[in-house]
Symmetry: C2
Subunit: 176 residues, 2 copies
């Protein structure tokens, strides 16, 4: 079955964007480029919350070549938008259905609020973050309080020359 992966870049204090959605603190480099080139090939679908979508629009995003893109929002109008992205109101139902369909993996972008509901519904299979060497001091949080603890298994850890630490974890499930 295809996997659902909560992933992206974060600061050491677990923000994925500045309060205004700003991503100017993101670092690049040969290692990041090489990793991302292969990593993106494992996905054909991305799912994000409204806050992440709106922040991405402000910072040059909003195009999803070769990807099925879904935005989970209870305030936007459901359906396909001009840029091809599909707005749905129920993220849990969407991701449950995506898992049943054939395809490459599903990437949950940014979206601490969306991720919280997916964690609590046991729908996230892996976590992958590129921890940046910065304490932003404020911003859009990656993690919110959960009703339960999530145990993880470390799959991979890479320290890059630019000071980023890439970590990948498998979510342990009691039913496995």
């Amino acid at each position: 079955m295809r996997k659902v992966i909560f992933g992206g870049a974060n600061s050491l204090d677990n923000y994925f964007a500045r309060p205004d959605g700003g991503l100017d603190w993101l670092l690049w480099g040969d290692e990041a480029a090489a990793f991302m080139k292969d990593y993106w090939k494992t996905f054909d679908t991305m799912v994000m919350g409204r806050i992440t979508y709106e922040a991405s629009l402000q910072h040059g995003g909003g195009a999803y070549p070769g990807m099925d893109a879904y935005i989970c929002s209870t305030t936007m109008t459901p359906g396909r938008m001009d840029n091809g992205a599909i707005v749905v109101s129920d993220g849990i139902q969407l991701v449950s259905e995506l898992k049943e369909r054939k395809g490459r993996d599903v990437c949950i972008m940014g979206g601490g609020i969306l991720a919280r509901s997916l964690f609590e519904a046991d729908l996230i299979d892996e976590i992958g973050f590129n921890i940046h060497p910065v304490i932003l001091g404020g911003g859009i949080p990656l993690y919110y309080e959960l009703s339960k603890q999530i145990d993880l298994e470390l799959l991979e850890c890479q320290a890059w020359k630019n000071g980023c630490v890439l970590v990948r974890y498998r979510v342990k499930k009691l039913s496995h």
Copy 2:
């Protein structure tokens, strides 16, 4: 000059204890034991906030053999306690004075609130955390919002067999 190091163990979602101070989720192992044996030798002083102190008392702490221990609190009575720890009201003044004295390094334990004031006063030289493979979902936070961004340089990254990722960073200071 001796260094001031903000360090300890944390969950991936940046809690250093459960809401009740519980530390039952901490992992040990050969690598952790070997690292800590050498690491502790670099310190002769530990500084913590009241919340960390009270949580440590509930979980078997409160003894500081071979260490000068300070508790920063505006509600406890200043002075030396029966267990040898010294209560002071002004953490910034304390740590500023400790930096001027000769000695081994100073460890800032737990204490997200204390750490925040020390970060804002530019008194923290290094950060060292043992990131545990767990999302606790709630607890006592390591990081609070700051009035400024803290840029870091990655000094060390180790992935341990027990799934912990040890990271050490130098705090970059504009004046250096």
